[in-house]
């Protein structure tokens, strides 16, 4: 029995060709765990349902076979474009690849946000230039549109054939499984985070494909032993060839908005005042700050990895080595980005906290920042955007931070009570964790008058690149406080000036408890439900931007209909929702 299955996917999208001036569609092979697939394919985490609602056609479920053979190895372009079974394989393989990256980085299984184990992937869902994850439908829907280009090879553009789009949507689904509270109304950082995080994971995932990086670095190169000029491996040159290059490769019809978003994220001149600038308050603009910082850090680390290579005499270096360094940098950074989620607060996330989470996650596995200084690069790139560890921005209440920007152990940890708490039970039982939290509410400064619930208890086993094992248990709790606006003053929270006193408002708080292998609390990363400054800012943002549910309540939801939240987020990004001036 094989442990792995190798499947052909389209490397980016069908417009990206293997040769410098055309040629076949550029494909690649990905390796995912072997599983006994049913028709669909339908595996232990993913079920491809090929039903087209626009024309009410149900395609025969694809059989990828039990023998792990790749049916589409070396398939002609025509087959890749016109065989729905290949489309089913493409979405299955890419989503499984992203899922495996998450599980590798987090050291545990990652659940979807809904009750169920298999997410539905619908590769030809409807005729629309959109692809979206829908949590209430337990699905990711991929649309298709006719091309407007008469010279295109195929009259239809399929979003299910774009590596970047499939990985982006899979990331939304996985992030929602890990932190479903990140879709709650918060401030501009959290609003921009889902989209930016999905972009970053999708891009680093694409940069983890050697064929893509090779093609972007040296579009005219054909042979594996080719050399590349050193002048093309400088920061600006890499930015042009790799980041802009990929933006250019995004398909015209369905990725054009993503293309301009990527272009803009790279083009944006760093601005330390951006976090306070109203121009960056809109969620997609905000998200570009995060994308820009991480993508530039990626280039910096890549260059750092090639330092010894570039110091050798001569004007050029082996292309393959440069490609491999790029792929390795992308993969390491991708692991860091995903792992950071465990060290982020549960609600009201700020980019500064994400940076601290990134640094902490990496520090836990590689205390000395290794040879390639990933953490230095991230600190530097975030600082260019005015984002430093939280205490610099006045969020000192969120947690304590060491000099190098990582979370510190809990204040007064010697006062924490473990009497009566069973260490083994603390690794898996939400009630045990709640008991720990309640017993220690004063030491941990947890507001006891809010409804408090343990969301998850997740034991993890992570392996660092140097072979070290790190065992941890990650547990999350959420706090909810429903008030009228005029009750805010009791918590010293400023009510938005013009908000009527009887307006219902909801405050969220919560935290992550990270226990070490002895079930001792190592980190407590929280957003306090009674943090007057943070809650006041959040409500001011929601009020200013009219973010409320359909009953006019603030803080609960943005009013999107069930299942439409992510679809609407994309439509807003693409400027496809009408401007609203008068309320209903």
């Amino acid at each position: 029995m094989r442990a792995e299955r190798e499947l052909t996917i389209i490397a980016q999208d069908p417009s990206v060709r293997a040769g410098p001036s055309g040629g076949d569609i550029l494909t690649t092979k990905v390796t995912i765990p072997y599983e006994d697939l049913s028709a669909g394919p339908r595996g232990y985490r993913v079920h491809v349902v090929d039903y087209d609602a626009s024309q009410r056609v149900f395609y025969e479920p694809a059989e990828l076979g039990r023998d792990a053979d790749d049916q589409f190895r070396n398939a002609p372009d025509q087959t890749l474009l016109t065989d729905p079974a290949f489309h089913a394989q493409n979405v299955y393989a890419i989503v499984m690849r992203v899922l495996c990256r998450f599980e590798f980085a987090l050291g545990r299984r990652v659940a979807w946000s809904f009750r169920g184990h298999q997410i539905n992937l619908v590769p030809h869902a409807f005729c629309d230039a959109n692809a979206c994850y829908s949590e209430s439908d337990h699905s990711i829907f991929f649309g298709y549109v006719p091309t407007a280009h008469p010279d295109a090879d195929h009259p239809i553009v399929f979003t299910c054939l774009s590596h970047d789009i499939v990985a982006h949507e899979a990331t939304h689904a996985l992030l929602d499984g890990l932190r479903d509270s990140y879709t709650l109304p918060s401030g501009p950082d959290q609003a921009g985070f889902h989209e930016a995080f999905a972009d970053i994971v999708a891009l680093l995932s694409v940069f983890g494909v050697e064929q893509i990086v090779g093609r972007l670095l040296a579009p005219n190169s054909a042979a594996a032993d080719d050399q590349i000029g050193k002048e093309r491996l400088e920061v600006e040159a890499l930015k042009q060839s790799v980041l802009f290059g990929l933006a250019e490769e995004f398909g015209q019809e369905v990725s054009r908005f993503r293309r301009s978003a990527l272009r803009r994220a790279v083009e944006l001149p760093p601005d330390p005042d951006a976090p306070e600038d109203p121009r960056y308050e809109e969620c997609h603009e905000r998200g570009k700050i995060l994308s820009a910082a991480v993508l530039n850090a990626f280039l910096e680390v890549w260059l750092g990895r090639m330092k010894d290579l570039l110091s050798l005499p001569g004007d050029s270096v082996p292309l393959q080595r440069a490609v491999r360094d790029g792929v390795a940098a992308a993969q390491h950074l991708l692991t860091m980005v995903i792992r950071a989620l465990d060290y982020c607060p549960v609600v009201d996330l700020h980019f500064s906290e994400f940076l601290t989470a990134l640094l902490t996650a990496d520090y836990e596995l590689l205390p000395d920042d290794g040879r390639y200084k990933y953490r230095d690069a991230l600190r530097k790139q975030f600082a260019l955007w005015g984002i430093g560890p939280p205490y610099i921005l006045g969020h000192e209440d969120a947690g304590r931070i060491l000099e190098e920007g990582i979370w510190e152990r809990p204040k007064d940890e010697e006062k924490l009570r473990y009497e009566g708490i069973h260490p083994e039970s603390l690794r898996r039982d939400p009630d045990e964790v709640f008991r720990f939290l309640w017993e220690n509410r004063k030491t941990l400064r947890v507001f006891e008058h809010a409804h408090t619930v343990i969301l998850s208890v997740r034991p993890c086993l992570r392996i660092g690149p140097d072979g070290f094992f790190v065992r941890e248990t990650v547990s999350e709790y959420l706090q909810i406080l429903d008030l009228r606006a005029d009750q805010l003053r009791e918590l010293k929270i400023n009510k938005p000036e013009e908000m009527p006193g009887d307006t219902p408002v909801r405050l969220y708080g919560g935290g992550v408890l990270i226990f070490d292998e002895f079930s001792r609390l190592k980190y407590h990363i929280c957003s306090r439900v009674n943090n007057a400054d943070a809650q006041g800012k959040r409500l001011a943002y929601l009020w200013r931007n009219g973010i409320r549910d359909s009953d006019g309540r603030y803080g609960r939801s943005d009013g999107s209909p069930p299942g439409q939240r992510f679809a609407r987020m994309h439509l807003r990004r693409d400027g496809q929702l009408p401007k609203e001036e008068w309320d209903a």
């Binding site: 609602a53 009410r56 149900f58 230039a129 829908s134 649309g143 299942g563 008068w582 309320d583």
Partner: protein
């Protein structure tokens, strides 16, 4: 035409057409009777019997003689009556001398034409083609109405069908309007800044065209034509047609992959049928959004006219939405004149973005009941039909700062019309 002067009075007659628009402007002239301009005559809620009464009333009010007809855009709630058998002809018999329509209705720029009048350019032609194909798509949705209405959520499906119905082509009305004028040359296809075509009909009244802009002016009005090219609507119509006749007990043939093996939808296992059902809802949301985008695009072809006479300024904007207005509101010379508006026909039956707040704030005659020369606003609408129209916050603002004349608030719902003299 003999030299004659307007008295300076204006009568505005508002007809109760449910969800739709129909207004008659009557300008008395010294010793020369009244000149009558009919602005729109459509509905998406009332039946032919009711509309017959409306036409009879128009005939009475204008003395069986119209001087001009303005059809702001080609939605059913603005032109349906022109296409109703018998009623269209009765309106044509009123022998208007001029029929004013937006540039997008120019017969030389028809969807199938190979060239467009130069002022509209190639982009304009593409816009018109796309709108035309979009209307075919709406037609297929309406043909599909019974299936859609059986889907959940029901209120969403109802709204989708309502909007799609307003967007289907009314070929009879379009044909009638294209040859309705007294002479063939009397059709005016207008855009912002162009002549209105009413200059000779209404001497002494300044009539300015403030919209729609052309695509040379702005691309804001282009949605969804730009995002959804003609091919999109054509494929959409084909698929919707196929879906309408698909039998779930048989394997359906795919228009995307003609040779691909398919299964009867009804044969799927229960979990897959659940996904199909959920997907049907998601598709309903998509279709609603797309039809609304198309609805917005047609609304944005609305003619905006400003009539100025003797210190009075009457603003009629059809269903122009924010993107159409944006062009006029950029021009200081126009915004200066808009400040003096004395009567405003509320755009798009009171929807969310057809009365830009920037426009509303310009009106200097807004104010409480004691305001001299207080702004009059006309709101022709029916509640609960579309998109929570009219918008509560807009109605509140209108009631606070203007004298509101609203058909849906008339005490006697059987009343056909009311006339207001300014």
């Amino acid at each position: 035409m003999p030299e004659t002067k307007p008295t300076g009075d204006v009568r505005v007659t508002m007809y109760n057409v449910g969800f739709g628009d129909c207004f008659l402007l009557s300008f008395p002239y010294d010793g020369d009777g009244d000149r009558h301009v009919l602005i729109d005559c459509g509905t998406t809620t009332e039946d032919k019997e009711w509309m017959t009464k409306v036409v009879e009333q128009i005939e009475k009010d204008c003395g069986k003689r119209l001087d001009a007809v303005v059809v702001t855009h080609r939605h059913q709630d603005h032109l349906k009556t022109f296409g109703l058998k018998g009623l269209g002809e009765r309106l044509a018999d009123l022998k208007p001398k001029v029929v004013v329509q937006p540039w997008t209705e120019h017969p030389k720029a028809e969807a199938q034409a190979t060239s467009a009048p130069s002022v509209y350019g190639v982009r304009g032609l593409a816009q018109i083609r796309s709108l035309d194909a979009a209307q075919d798509f709406a037609e297929q949705l309406v043909a599909n109405a019974s299936r859609l209405l059986s889907a959940a959520p029901a209120d969403l499906a109802e709204e989708l069908v309502f909007v799609a119905e307003a967007n289907i082509k009314n070929k009879a009305a379009v044909a009638l309007l294209s040859h309705m004028g007294e002479e063939p040359a009397a059709a005016a296809y207008v855009h912002e800044g162009s002549e209105s075509g009413l200059e000779e009909i209404l001497p002494g009244v300044r009539v300015s065209v403030l919209g729609p802009p052309t695509l040379e002016d702005t691309t804001d009005i282009r949605s969804p034509a730009d995002r959804h090219p003609t091919q999109y609507w054509e494929l959409g119509a084909t698929l919707a047609g196929a879906a309408a006749t698909a039998d779930p007990s048989l394997p359906a043939k795919s228009a995307l992959f003609p040779g691909a093996p398919t299964l009867p939808a009804a044969s799927a296992e229960s979990h897959v049928r659940w996904v199909m059902d959920r997907l049907g809802r998601a598709e309903l949301w998509n279709a609603t959004r797309i039809v609304e985008a198309m609805n917005d695009a047609l609304n944005n072809t609305s003619v905006i006219l400003l009539f100025e006479v003797d210190g009075k300024a009457l603003l009629f904007s059809g269903d122009a939405q924010w993107e159409n207005w944006a062009w006029a509101l950029k021009a200081p010379a126009i915004t200066e004149r808009l400040k003096a508006t004395t009567l405003y026909k509320v755009g798009h039956h009171g929807s969310t973005n057809a009365t830009p707040q920037k426009l509303w704030e310009l009106f200097e005659n807004r104010g409480d009941e004691n305001t001299p020369n207080r702004l009059v606003t006309l709101l022709s609408t029916k509640e609960g039909k579309h998109h929570r129209v009219p918008r509560c916050s807009l109605v509140k603002a209108l009631q606070a700062d203007s004298t509101v004349r609203a058909t849906y608030l008339w005490e006697d719902s059987d009343q056909i019309s009311k006339t207001y003299t300014l």
